[in-house]
Structure formats: structure tokens, C-alpha cells
């Protein structure tokens, strides 16, 4: 297998071995071929988009967790009953679920089975602790808990900011990709920790990928792209080396700077560990050896890349895609080659590259901003108050009124943290005319307030202040109780500004307080520029 490793990489590894005593030995111990796996595997997978007041909500942590759960249960040898998926749950739930899995593992050990425990976490981490919503789980406590777990192998994959702190004492390495070598099959025991970033780095998410860089490339690798040995199985080291290289490459030009995954090991035994078996599921896609070399991308109907494949010439590669329809893109220097493949359940589909069609780069099926993927709706009820600034106006023309209505918000549609709102409210009160030559008639004053707004938010943990603009359509009317006077109505488009703050009460419920300043051009009796304000509270639910 060493013959497959490019010479420059081999040279780099040689230098590293020379510069880091011990690393080469341990690395050699672990760089063994994946063995036939007889482990009883358990998995705890957690994703949490929130991390407390001092953190900005994530967009894809839960999605990453779902993807990893699907991968491990479909290809990773974890029975669905042995996998626990926690979404937006707190530290207490996390530890409870861990205890449950530990009990099962202990029972399996009692039966004489070898066991492995996978812990995957995607979410916030800060100040030496995982942030699961408002709760915290200290790195040290987690490490001790993993070390004490009654299993043979413990593998923790942490996709969170500064998660490298967890591996620092164990020799975190901003190292180049591992050289995957073959060797004798040996048992592996102990603790393995993969983190998405170093101790002083942020982990970055990508709208285009619909997830974090690290988890995306780890998942893509586990689907087959990391199977550099071509044996149909993706080992821990293959997956890590793949995720490392691709994450560093993708984040190298980002504004946050390159992100370096870390790896730590404490294996009593030695040997590599198969994470996914690409043949565990009968369905999948085979890219035959005769297909042209290059980068292939497999895009789901939502426009997101679910897997990538860096194919070399004359090698057959397998991508363990789940059943479904995918668009296949092969990037060339001057154009794209695009086609569609259907992965049927229980069947292996062979990609016929000649059936792909040439297409310009503008027809890239990958959505640049992943619009639709990350947008979300919220619906709510509002209560507020409207009043004009001019005293004479609010006393005799447009009265001050309470308003009640409903609103819908489309979040992250135009871009992240932008909210497109649609609102409708009604209000009314009773009034008595007091004009120079006419006083006394009573009437019912009513307001219909329709609007659309575009605001930008600055999420600060659970609170997100926002400012923006709003365009309203205001319908004002009054009905006199005395039939001597006709009903009157006035309608006008009214531009304005809006500002406020949104408070996340729970995962789906938000309380918003806001103020509006609006302009109204009145043109019936005379041309008059009027201004009015509105204060309101809004309770929304995000399904």
C-alpha cells in the first residue's frame, strides 16, 4: 500500500517521524489494515444549535448530528437500538443517555463481546466545556467519563469550537494528513478523540455545504471518499486524514482562517478501526475504474453536496449513498459534466460517465447560498399600540389605538440572520368629534395594518437585537353612529423603520419586543407628512 502514497506525502511523513519522537511508532502501530469487525458498537450522537447567552446560534449542528446518526446506523455497524440521537438536549440528558449505553455495553461485555462506544457531538464549546444549550459539560469530566466507560474502545468525535483543547494534553497535532498504511490486523483498545478544530480555533459552518466543514468531510469520507485503500471499508485513520485535509483546504481562505482538526489516541492495543463498511448496505454507487479521474460531487435534491469523490485513474470507487436521486457533477477546468443517478434500495448503481452532459459553470446544481435549506418560518401573534406624533392628528383625525394581529417570519431567506416578515394587525377605539364647527358625533375608529419588513439580527445567545425597514399598507376608517355622516376611509402605503430584540424562550418559542417609526403621507384635506410609532410584543412559534 505504501506504493500508493504520493512521494511528497511520504517525504513529509518521514520528516514528521523524525521531528516528533514517538509519533512515528504510535502511528505505525495504528496504521494497520482494517480488520473484519466483530465489535458490538454503541453510539451517542448529539447536536445542539444553541450554546447559551454568550454564543451565537449555530445553523447546522443538529443536521450534522442527524447525518452522523444515519451514517453510523446504516454503514457503521451500529444497530438502531444501540444508537441514541439527542437534538438540542442538555448536559443532563447527554449523561443520562451515556449511562444507558454504558449499561448496555456492560451487559454485552458480560456476554463476552468486544465493545466500542462512539460519542459524536456537534455544537458549541467554550471555556473548556461543551455547551449544550444553557448547560455545560466540562471537557475534563467528559474525558474521565469516557475513560471510565465499560467498553473496549471509545471514540469521541467533537465538532465544536476550540474542541482541540480536549486533545491538547494528549498531543494535539496540526499535522498533515495521515499516511494510511497497511499492516497486520491487530486489536485496538483505548480512547480515540477527534476534534474539528484546534484549541484556539473556531469551527466553521458552511451554508453551501449545509453543515460544518469538518462533519461534512468526515461524513463524505465515511461514505467512500476516504477509502483510499479501495477495500470498501473506511477506517478511523482514513476518515480522519481525509477530513483533516479537506477541512484545512476548504477553510484556508475563509475569513476565520484555516481550521485544523486534531486527533488523539490512547490505544492499549493496536490496529485500525473500521468506521464504515461501504458494502454493509447493498445499495450504493460504483464509479468504475474506467471513469475519468477527477473530482465528483453528489448533490441531493436540495442542492447540497452529500458526498464527494476524488477519483484516480483506473481505480474503482464506491460511494455508499442512501437510496434516492442525486445529481452528479464532475468538475473540469473549463466546464462541468452533469447527470442524474437513481440509487435504488438494495441495488448498486454504476455511474456511466459518458451519460453525463457538458454544462457551463452557471448550471452548477450546487446552490451557492443553500437557499431554502437554512430558511425557517416562524408564526406568531402580536399585541401593540399605535399613535401619531402630532397631537392634533391623534386627537381629531387618526386616534391612538391598540393593535392585535398575526405575523409570519421567514428567517435566513435572503441571507443569514435576515428576517423577512409579514404582518397583519387590526385595532379600533371609540371617538368623539371635536371640530371647530362640529362637536359631539361619536364614531368607531378602526385600523387595519398590513406590512412586510426586512430586518437583520445580531444573535447574542438567546437574545437577538434587530433593526430593519418596513413597508406598511395602512387602512384607517371611521364609522359614525349618527347616520348624518358617511363612513370615511383612508389607505396609504407607509414606509418605516423597525428595531427590537427577539428572545428565545425555548427551542421553538420566541418573544419579540419591537418599536416602529413610520411615515404617512396624508392627502385628503391637505398634503401633510405625518409620523407615527408602534410598540408591540410578538410571541412566535417556529415549527
Amino acid at each position: 500500500m505504501t506504493g500508493l502514497v504520493p512521494a511528497p506525502v511520504r517525504g513529509l511523513v518521514t520528516k514528521l517521524r523524525a521531528s516528533l519522537p514517538g509519533f512515528g511508532l504510535a502511528f505505525a502501530l495504528m496504521s494497520t489494515a482494517a480488520q473484519a469487525d466483530t465489535l458490538h458498537r454503541f453510539a451517542l450522537i448529539a447536536g445542539n444549535d444553541t450554546g447559551g447567552d454568550d454564543t451565537r446560534p449555530l445553523s447546522y449542528a443538529r443536521d450534522d448530528a442527524r447525518k452522523m446518526h444515519d451514517l453510523l446506523t446504516r454503514l457503521g455497524g451500529v444497530a438502531p437500538s444501540d444508537a441514541k440521537l439527542l437534538l438540542d438536549d442538555d448536559a443532563k440528558d447527554f449523561l443520562t443517555a451515556l449511562s444507558d449505553l454504558e449499561q448496555r455495553a456492560r451487559a454485552a461485555q458480560t456476554r463476552g463481546e468486544r465493545t466500542a462506544l462512539f460519542v459524536y457531538y456537534s455544537g458549541h464549546a467554550k471555556d473548556g466545556a461543551l455547551r449544550l444549550g444553557d448547560s455545560r459539560l466540562a471537557f475534563d469530566a467528559l474525558k474521565r467519563r469516557l475513560a471510565d466507560a465499560p467498553v473496549d474502545i471509545r471514540i469521541a468525535i467533537l465538532d465544536s469550537c476550540r474542541s482541540g483543547a480536549l486533545t491538547r494534553t494528549k498531543g494535539a497535532r496540526k499535522a498533515p494528513a495521515f499516511d494510511v498504511e497497511s499492516g497486520a490486523a491487530r486489536d485496538a483498545r483505548g480512547v480515540v478523540i477527534l476534534t474539528s478544530s484546534a484549541a484556539d480555533e473556531d469551527s466553521q459552518e458552511s451554508d453551501a455545504l449545509g453543515g460544518s466543514y469538518f462533519s461534512h468531510h468526515l461524513a463524505s469520507g465515511l461514505l467512500g471518499d476516504a477509502d483510499r485503500s479501495g477495500d470498501g471499508r473506511v477506517t478511523l485513520f482514513e476518515a480522519y486524514s481525509h477530513a483533516y485535509a479537506r477541512t484545512v483546504a476548504d477553510t484556508a481562505d475563509s475569513s476565520a482562517g484555516p481550521q485544523h482538526p486534531t486527533f488523539s489516541y490512547d490505544l492499549a492495543g493496536n490496529g485500525d478501526l473500521v468506521l464504515t463498511d461501504l458494502r454493509a448496505s447493498a445499495e450504493g454507487l460504483v464509479v468504475p475504474g474506467g471513469a475519468p479521474a477527477g473530482s465528483y460531487y453528489f448533490v441531493d435534491p436540495g442542492g447540497l453536496v452529500v458526498a464527494e469523490l476524488d477519483k484516480t485513474a483506473d481505480t474503482e470507487r464506491r460511494v455508499a449513498l442512501a437510496p434516492g436521486t442525486y445529481r452528479v457533477k464532475r468538475r473540469m477546468s473549463d466546464r462541468l459534466r452533469i447527470g442524474e443517478v437513481e440509487i435504488a434500495r438494495g441495488r448498486t448503481t454504476v455511474l456511466e460517465e459518458p451519460r453525463l452532459k457538458d454544462a457551463p459553470f452557471s448550471d452548477d446544481p450546487v446552490k451557492g447560498a443553500a437557499r431554502g435549506r437554512d430558511t425557517w418560518w416562524a408564526f406568531g401573534l402580536t399585541g401593540g399600540y399605535q399613535s401619531f406624533f402630532d397631537a392634533a392628528t391623534r386627537q381629531s383625525l387618526f386616534l391612538s389605538v391598540p393593535l392585535f394581529g398575526a405575523e409570519a417570519e421567514l428567517h435566513d431567506y435572503f441571507r443569514r440572520d435576515w428576517v423577512w416578515g409579514f404582518d397583519a394587525a387590526m385595532g379600533g377605539t371609540r371617538g368623539v368629534l371635536a371640530l371647530p364647527t362640529l362637536a359631539g358625533p361619536t364614531y368607531r375608529y378602526s385600523v387595519v395594518n398590513l406590512g412586510t419588513s426586512l430586518t437583520t439580527e445580531w444573535p447574542l445567545g438567546r437574545v437577538a437585537p434587530f433593526v430593519g425597514a418596513r413597508l406598511a399598507y395602512l387602512i384607517l376608517g371611521r364609522q359614525f353612529e349618527d347616520a348624518a355622516f358617511p363612513d370615511q376611509r383612508f389607505a396609504m402605503v407607509s414606509p418605516g423603520l423597525v428595531a427590537g430584540a427577539r428572545l428565545q424562550l425555548s427551542r421553538s418559542v420566541h418573544l419579540t419586543t419591537r418599536g416602529r417609526l413610520q411615515y404617512l403621507q396624508y392627502n385628503v384635506d391637505a398634503q401633510r407628512s405625518l409620523g407615527y410609532w408602534e410598540l408591540a410584543a410578538l410571541l412566535t412559534y417556529a415549527p
Binding site: P436, T437, L438, G440, Q488, R489, N523, D525
Partner: protein, 324 residues
């Protein structure tokens, strides 16, 4: 597809909103609309008996009045009141048509309805103009031949109103210039014998007052006058002067001065003075009950039997007597 739809939706919505802007929400409109009297405020309040006993005048001449018989004078007074109401109502109904429509032009202290083509006078157009000066309003119903200049407008109906009494109540005038109308080729129908009808009214507070003055063709002063008053007690009064009545045989026509007063239940008292004619100086007083039957009468020319019936049966209408 969704982006495409969204891109088209926004401008379409803006266009729709632009079309749907504006309205008639106006305090000034209300003040102008308040400056026209209500029809019911200017109508003479006749007792229910007036309608029960028939509004048609049975005889244009005052016949022999018999105690216990039907009061022909009462019926005449009620009939005159009905004619009074019809005349006022016709004018105000015309103005009400404009009032019920939003003004065509809004200017500072001025509103104009129209011009509209006048279906009743083909080839002409009509407009209604109201102007305000403080609490004083003036209005004009004007006509002109279609397509002529601005200075071709002529006034058929001028009016004034001082709006200081609440909803459509105050003091004002209203006139119908029939002579001007005929001069512009309008057919004035039954009113050919009249040059002008003037109405003055005060509806701000009780006792209210409405007065009609009819100026005959060629006359310089009004010949006929109808007046109506109401007081809080619900009493009604109508005074009218009728020249040219042939009341008694002889060579001269009589001019009658009639003052009729009634209670809400239909009882009444009437005083008739003959100012001119063969029976000049005659004075006649009559009271009737709620069924318009004469209960008391007094004749100043009958020295033998000047009164019949019981004067105590006459209703108390002293509230209508003007306070000194």
C-alpha cells in the same frame, strides 16, 4: 422558480397598493357636510291627526264653522303645513344628493361637487360649491351650458349656514331663484307665478323657526309667507299670510293673516285676521279637539252670539307666545 415568483410578487404588490391609496377620511369634509340642514329639522311638525284626517284641502274657502263640526280651518292649516314641508323637502333633497357624495374637489375652505351632466336639463352641467369662513358657510347650486367657460356658471340655489348648534343644526338661509332659472331657459313647472322662494331657519335651539317667503312674478317684495315654530313642549305653530282670498261675497279679495297652533295630540287653536278686503277687521278664533272637531269658536262680528262652546276646551299653547 420560487425566487422568480418572489421577484414578481413584490412589484405587483406595490402596484396594487398604489392603486388602492387615498380615500375620504377628512375632518373638513365632515364640517362641510354638517353645514347643510336636515330635512326633518326644517319640516313643520304636524300632529298625527293631520294625516289621519286627510291632508287634502276639502275646500279652498272657509265655510260655515259649526260647533262640533270638523274644523275646516284646522285642515287648511295642516294642508298648508304639508305644502310647506313639500316645498322645503324638494330643495333639501336636491342638496342631499350632493352631500351624500364625496366632493370632487377639495381646496382650503372650499369644496366642489361636480360638475356633472344634468339629466333634467340636457346640455347643461351642474355643480355644488361650498365655502367656509370661520363658522359661516355659503353654498351655491350652479348651472352652466356644457362646455362653456368658468364665468358662465349661474346660481339657481344660494344658501348660507352658521354651524354652531351641533349636528347639522344652526341658523341659515336657502333660496330658489326661479326668475334666474327661467332666464336661462329652465322650465320652472308649477312655480311660474313665482320669482323667488326664500327660506330662513334657526334650528340651533328651541324654539326653532322656519320661514318661507314666496315672491310672486314681477313683485319686489314677498307676497306669501309661511312660518313654522316648535318649542320644547312639542307644540307646533304655523303662521301664514294669504293675499287674494275671496272669503266673503263682495268686490274685494281678502288678505288673511292666520296663526295656527297645536299640541302633539292634535288639539289646536287658530286665529284668523282679515287684513284687507270686504271683511277687513274681522277676527275669528277657533279651537278643535284631537279629532279636529270644533269645540269653541269666537267671531268679533257677531254681536248677538260672539262665542260658542267652552273656551276652557282650547289647548294651552301659551309656550308659543314670544317672551317679551
Amino acid at each position: 422558480m420560487r425566487e422568480h415568483a418572489m421577484r414578481n410578487l413584490a412589484p405587483a404588490l406595490l402596484c396594487l397598493l398604489a392603486v388602492a391609496c387615498g380615500g375620504d377620511f377628512s375632518n373638513d369634509d365632515l364640517e362641510f357636510q354638517n353645514a347643510l340642514p336636515q330635512r326633518q329639522d326644517l319640516a313643520a311638525k304636524l300632529p298625527d291627526a293631520a294625516s289621519r284626517s286627510g291632508q287634502g284641502l276639502r275646500s279652498q274657502q272657509v265655510g260655515l264653522q259649526v260647533l262640533g263640526g270638523t274644523s275646516e280651518l284646522a285642515l287648511q292649516a295642516y294642508a298648508a303645513g304639508t305644502r310647506f314641508n313639500v316645498s322645503v323637502d324638494a330643495l333639501l333633497s336636491l342638496l342631499e344628493l350632493f352631500r351624500n357624495a364625496p366632493p370632487t374637489t377639495r381646496e382650503t375652505d372650499r369644496r366642489i361637487w361636480g360638475p356633472y351632466p344634468d339629466k333634467d336639463h340636457p346640455g347643461h352641467e351642474v355643480r355644488f360649491v361650498m365655502e367656509r369662513q370661520g363658522a359661516q358657510f355659503a353654498y351655491l347650486l350652479q348651472y352652466r351650458p356644457t362646455g362653456t367657460r368658468e364665468d358662465a356658471w349661474w346660481t339657481y340655489l344660494p344658501g348660507t349656514f352658521k354651524a354652531d348648534g351641533g349636528i347639522r343644526k344652526g341658523e341659515g338661509t336657502l333660496a330658489l331663484d326661479l326668475k334666474e332659472a327661467r332666464g336661462h331657459g329652465f322650465d320652472t313647472g308649477d312655480a311660474t307665478s313665482l320669482d323667488r322662494l326664500d327660506i330662513g331657519y334657526q334650528t340651533r335651539a328651541l324654539p326653532t323657526r322656519v320661514e318661507l317667503l314666496f315672491t310672486g312674478a314681477g313683485a319686489t317684495l314677498p307676497l306669501t309667507r309661511y312660518a313654522s315654530r316648535q318649542v320644547p313642549e312639542g307644540l307646533g305653530e304655523m303662521a301664514f299670510r294669504l293675499p287674494g282670498q275671496d272669503l266673503v261675497p263682495g268686490g274685494l279679495l281678502e288678505t288673511l293673516d292666520i296663526l295656527a297652533r297645536w299640541t302633539p295630540d292634535g288639539r289646536g287653536v287658530l286665529e284668523l285676521n282679515i287684513l284687507e278686503g270686504d271683511a277687513k277687521g274681522a277676527k275669528y278664533t277657533e279651537c278643535w279637539d284631537s279629532r279636529t272637531r270644533i269645540t269653541f269658536l269666537r267671531r268679533n262680528w257677531d254681536f248677538i252670539n260672539p262665542t260658542e262652546g267652552d273656551a276652557a276646551t282650547c289647548p294651552d299653547v301659551s309656550a308659543l307666545v314670544p317672551k317679551p
